[in-house]
């Protein structure tokens, strides 16, 4: 369905994208080099023939035992062109920092915080790198495959929130 997108990516970023394949259900997917992901996303959003205005879901996968261990998956959707593409970025455990795409899609904010919370993957340049779901005192990243199955942690006391209207985020957050 979106073969044209894959071809345009291969023509525009030779060497930075590799191994395209057709996934289950006919979605086209392609691997992207980690350092280029923000540039590739910017291109996919701004190019009129691509027009990927939405990133409906960004998540991470833990392939424990393989190298590189982690993978970030970007599922992109164009509402005007009606096509989808899936970008996959391999992340090594020794270097868990990935460029952020919050500058491209504002909605990627919470997805990246989710990946930070659940997998411990840091996003360089993220405006608010806090945990999304778990509390700050939580140790470890629960969706990693080496997190114990019943790894319970002690309950924590209620936190003081300085500004009840703004919540615990930093100043300048919308």
């Amino acid at each position: 369905m979106s073969k044209a997108v894959i071809e345009a990516l291969a023509a525009r970023f030779p060497g930075d994208v590799y191994e395209p394949y057709e996934g289950v259900g006919g979605d086209d997917a392609i691997f992207v080099r980690k350092s280029e992901i923000a540039r590739v996303c910017k291109f996919l959003k701004t190019e009129p023939a691509m027009a990927f205005h939405m990133a409906p879901y960004i998540t991470a996968v833990d392939y424990l035992g393989l190298e590189p261990r982690f993978e970030i998956v970007y599922n992109l959707l164009s509402t005007t062109q009606n096509h989808r593409v899936r970008l996959r970025v391999k992340v090594s455990e020794s270097d868990l920092e990935v460029p952020t795409v919050t500058g491209v899609w504002r909605g990627a904010d919470w997805f990246e915080r989710y990946c930070l919370d659940m997998y411990g993957i840091r996003f360089k340049g993220h405006p608010d790198p806090r945990r999304l779901l778990m509390y700050d005192e939580f140790v470890g990243h629960p969706l990693r495959k080496d997190y114990p199955l019943r790894g319970r942690q002690p309950l924590v006391p209620e936190r003081d929130i300085q500004d009840i209207y703004r919540g615990p985020g930093p100043d300048g957050r919308d």
Binding site: P142, Y147, L155, V156, E158
Partner: protein
């Protein structure tokens, strides 16, 4: 809330007998009044909330038991209904709500998630709200049928009727902030 047992002294003077009789009558009257006017605070977090709505609306009609008034301020409520899964991040909030309720107060754990964590045997879920606050009645079920909830409510009413109630309670006030099981 532990049920205080009335211990009758072995030898009682006529005066003690008279005051004891009076206290028992007051306790019975207050217990009757309290069990039939339970104002609930529904702490609804998950799908059990649908069953709660079913219980409190016309078909099953919790009003028959005098518990039809949900108060959305814990200070006006005396029955805390914990309806649904409570996760670790939410546990301090539940505890705060419980502490804000004024005495006397009772707690019903509504559904297996509130009672024991249910099938959420994982990193995120409190394995039963009795890790955080004391519970009077556990209603199992995923979610429980409305009849089960009414049964639990009647059980609680029986418990309240058998408790000792005083006009003025000069007992020690509960310590806030501490954990009743000594956990942090």
């Amino acid at each position: 809330m532990a049920s205080d047992l009335e211990v009758a002294p072995a030898i009682a003077t006529r005066r003690e007998e008279a005051t004891g009789f009076f206290q028992r009558m007051v306790s019975k009257g207050l217990g009757w009044a309290r069990k039939n006017s339970l104002w609930q605070y529904p702490f609804v977090t998950a799908c059990c909330g649908m069953e709660y709505m079913s219980v409190s609306s016309a078909r099953y009609d919790i009003a028959r038991f005098g518990a039809e008034v949900p108060r959305f301020s814990p200070r006006q409520a005396d029955l805390l209904l914990v309806v649904g899964t409570v996760n670790c991040k939410q546990a301090p909030i539940l505890k705060r709500v419980y502490e804000q309720m004024s005495e006397p107060k009772w707690v019903i754990a509504f559904g297996v998630c509130a009672s024991s964590g249910g099938f959420y045997d994982n990193y995120a879920t409190v394995q039963g709200i009795d890790h955080v606050i004391p519970v009077d009645v556990y209603v199992p079920g995923c979610p429980p049928r409305p009849e089960q909830v009414l049964d639990g409510l009647m059980l609680l009413q029986r418990k309240i009727a058998n408790q000792q109630h005083k006009l003025i309670d000069r007992g020690a006030l509960p310590v806030l902030g501490g954990d009743h099981k000594g956990r942090p």
